[in-house]
């Protein structure tokens, strides 16, 4: 108990802050912050596994998040029959060809010795394959995109409950991580960072511009929900009764029946959106807790010890017979898969998939700030980082506004400096994040909750 005092204190302060937001701003805002904090926490856990456990830098978090989101679309949207009949065959056959090309390259690489000729053969196979695939897929893609472009114009998904996408998202992201890992993990730390950053940009470019698969920048909206819809809730009896029970004291103060009914309606509308958000919180909380238990178990298992050994001294671990390359690949895949789950969760919560909104600042660098501020190598720290940083990211604008008003109190309201500063209040969050990161790196390089390894 005593040892964990700082953890408990840090989390209580965090929860206290969110509750304060609920009391002073509104419970709706507090809950949406809380939900995004939970999603951020999942992302930071993924990044923390890679960076904290194994010392791998993955600046491609954005790409894995987007793949998770893509999974949500591909799982939950109903299939567009017309599009499938228009271009499904072409897409499937080019997909099949793609597999053939990959297998052929693998076959050549495996069965022939390294030589100039082999490289030429591989290059020819790839180039020929790409040309053939383009010829086959192009008419299909055009046909698909012409099917009702205002509403669909893409193949659609499987029409399953969106919850499944959390697992599929993990598989997608893990699969991509496997490919990237095979290719790039041999690079030095900072090269790996740059390579993953650029690869994630490629992923986003593909998602943005392959309209037949993702609808691209036209966005997919109105995804199915795992939680009830507000409109339906507002007409259900048990929910209205529940809200009435909660607000009984307030309602009893209103003597007039008509007014009382109006107030109740207001409460029901507010309550329904809070209830939906609570449903999401519950789902997300389950994911966070399951992941936390798994990662904690892994951290203290022999495998976790081995990972730390590899992180702290690669050569020594290698000399002890640990397969560094394989373990790096494994942990890269695992961490990315967790980020993929978070990506699917994010799209599930928003109910829409907007490829244009994936920006490296928000989905890669901010997550890294979370991990480093929270405490890399410590799961509780990483989660706390997700909470703290997201909370500040959202609340930075009000805080910034307050600070600006405070510092420019002596100035006239129409003074150009004051007007300019108030206009630029949204950007104070960058300043806060940057200064926060710099201060933590300088004075508490291990984060708010530093890594503590107890030997049991």
């Amino acid at each position: 108990m005593r040892k964990n005092l700082n953890v408990i204190a840090a989390y209580s302060i965090m929860m206290g802050l969110i509750i304060l937001v609920g009391i002073f701003q509104s419970w709706n805002i507090a809950l949406s912050i809380f939900n995004l904090c939970l999603i951020s926490a999942v992302m930071t856990m993924g990044a923390n596994i890679q960076w904290g456990y194994a010392g791998l830098i993955n600046f491609g978090i954005m790409g894995f998040t987007a793949l998770g989101g893509l999974a949500a679309v591909l799982i939950s949207v109903d299939p567009v029959q017309e599009a499938w009949s228009a271009g499904g065959f072409n897409i499937l056959s080019s997909f099949f060809l793609l597999i053939v090309v990959v297998l052929a390259v693998r076959y050549v690489l495996k069965n022939y010795k390294k030589s100039k000729n082999r490289s030429y053969i591989v290059a020819t196979i790839i180039i020929l394959g790409i040309i053939i695939i383009r010829f086959i897929s192009e008419p299909g893609i055009e046909a698909i995109e012409e099917v009702n472009p205002a509403k669909t114009g893409f193949l659609g998904g499987l029409g399953l409950p969106i919850i499944f996408s959390w697992i599929i998202g993990a598989l997608f992201a893990g699969g991509l991580a496997f490919v990237i890992g095979k290719v790039a993990l041999g690079l030095r730390a900072d090269y790996l960072a740059i390579a993953t950053l650029l690869i994630s940009e490629i992923v986003i470019a593909i998602i943005k511009h392959e309209d037949w698969l993702t609808r691209g920048v036209k966005n997919v909206i109105g995804l199915k929900r795992p939680a009830p819809y507000e409109v339906n809730l507002q007409q259900t009896d048990w929910f209205i009764n529940l809200v009435e029970k909660f607000n009984l004291s307030k309602l009893n103060m209103i003597p007039d029946l008509a007014e009382r009914q109006a107030a109740l309606n207001q409460f029901v509308i507010e309550g329904s959106s809070i209830f939906v958000k609570l449903c999401y919180s519950g789902l997300f909380l389950v994911v966070v807790i399951i992941l936390l238990i798994l990662t904690q178990k892994a951290l203290y298992s022999p495998w976790g010890r081995m990972m730390r050994a590899i992180r702290d001294n690669e050569e020594a671990a290698n000399a002890m017979g640990k397969n560094v390359v394989k373990q790096h690949l494994l942990i890269f895949v695992l961490g990315s898969a967790i980020v993929g789950i978070a990506g699917a969760m994010l799209v599930t919560q928003d109910g829409l998939f907007t490829p244009g909104s994936y920006r490296p600042l928000r989905y890669t660098f901010l997550i890294w700030v979370m991990v480093i501020i929270g405490g890399s190598g410590n799961n509780f720290g990483a989660i706390l980082g997700g909470f703290v940083v997201w909370f500040l990211w959202i609340e930075a604008a009000p805080i910034g506004l307050y600070l600006v008003n405070l510092t420019t109190a002596g100035l006239d309201d129409t003074h150009f400096l004051k007007v300019h500063l108030i206009e630029s209040v949204p950007y104070f969050r960058f300043l806060m994040m940057g200064i926060g990161l710099l201060l933590i790196m300088r004075y508490r390089p291990k984060g708010i909750l530093p890594e503590k390894i107890e030997i049991k």
Partner: protein
């Protein structure tokens, strides 16, 4: 005649724009490579530092324009650059003193410095957005075209016009002057040689009496000059938007690594490699083939290898391929 037309077409749409874009990338890439070679970390604040330098130029340009100073046919920004460089260098030296110096003194691993540079990135981004705002700014004035497409057609009597923007010419000339001065400085002067020695082997350089503080300061000064000029040229040629500058960091990194990180000459060429491959692979060659091929063989489609949406993806793919097959870059890196 058709052949000349086809050549002019390529010149107009591929060669000149790629040369200008490549020069802008090259300056940024040399900036990245200098920091990497001497201060030994990947600077993720590159794009935003360039945005900061450009912002200074824009503010000075606006001031000059309001006072009524102009540079005739050339953009006023060219006069503003030296003043902006002073601001930029002092900003960089301040950041170095309060942020990077501590980690350098502690001999922190490069990864930690890279993380710190992300902090600097956030701060710089905030500073730029708070001062000048996130929106698109144009600060170009003076003569816009050196050769207009219509005039060119009239003079030569060809079907295809060749338009050369004055900013493109300015970009190329300024880059050539700047880069050749830089190489002269690095290869011929004593300070330049000591910088190269420091980059090659820090301990040996220290033993032979090279002052690390001086080296670091000069590196930041050169970096400041490169960042400001590179950023301003890009802004003059296209337009100034802080977010675009942040995004430009990615092809700049690609250029630096493709050329062999730590090697300024490699970075210089890397900029052109990236620019040319981006434009060559995403250009629609239909018109070109219409000129070159006989009528019966004219292509139906656009004859575009990749859609322009994948512009960035091209440079990144090149980078990934280079990293895989020649991790040290086309020119061997790690030495200035």
């Amino acid at each position: 005649m058709d052949f000349v037309n086809a050549l002019i077409l390529l010149l107009n749409y591929i060669f000149v724009p790629a040369l200008a874009y490549g020069s802008q990338l090259a300056l940024g890439a040399i900036f990245v490579t200098l920091i990497y070679g001497i201060l030994r970390f990947a600077n993720f604040a590159t794009g935003d530092m360039m945005a900061f330098g450009t912002m200074c130029t824009i503010l000075f340009t606006w001031y000059f324009q309001s006072v009524g100073i102009s540079f005739g046919v050339l953009p006023t920004a060219l006069i503003a650059i030296p003043f902006a460089i002073v601001f930029m260098i002092s900003y960089m030296l301040v950041i170095d003193k309060f942020v990077f110096k501590y980690y350098r003194a502690n001999k922190s691993p490069p990864v930690q410095l890279a993380m710190v540079s992300i902090g600097v990135m956030f701060v710089t981004q905030a500073v730029v957005r708070i001062i000048i705002g996130p929106s698109d700014r144009r600060f170009f004035d003076g003569e816009k075209f050196l050769i207009k497409a219509g005039e060119f057609k009239e003079i030569t009597g060809l079907n295809e016009g060749l338009a050369i923007k004055s900013t493109q010419v300015i970009t190329i000339i300024v880059t050539l002057i700047l880069v050749s001065t830089l190489f002269w400085f690095l290869n011929k002067t004593k300070t330049g040689k000591s910088m190269r020695a420091y980059s090659d082997n820090e301990d040996l350089a220290l033993l032979s009496g090279i002052d690390p503080k001086k080296i670091v300061m000069i590196t930041w000064i050169i970096a400041g000059i490169l960042a400001t000029i590179g950023g301003t040229l890009y802004g003059l040629d296209k337009s100034y938007k802080p977010f675009t500058y942040f995004n430009n960091m990615l092809p700049i990194f690609a250029a630096a690594i493709v050329g062999g990180i730590g090697n300024p000459f490699g970075a210089f060429l890397g900029g052109y490699v990236i620019a040319f491959s981006e434009i060559l692979l995403t250009y629609a060659y239909r018109k070109f083939f219409m000129y070159v091929l006989p009528e019966s063989m004219e292509p139906d489609g656009l004859v575009q290898l990749l859609s322009t949406d994948y512009k960035f993806a091209v440079s990144f793919s090149i980078l990934v391929i280079v990293l895989l097959y020649r991790p040290s870059g086309i020119f061997k890196g790690k030495v200035l």
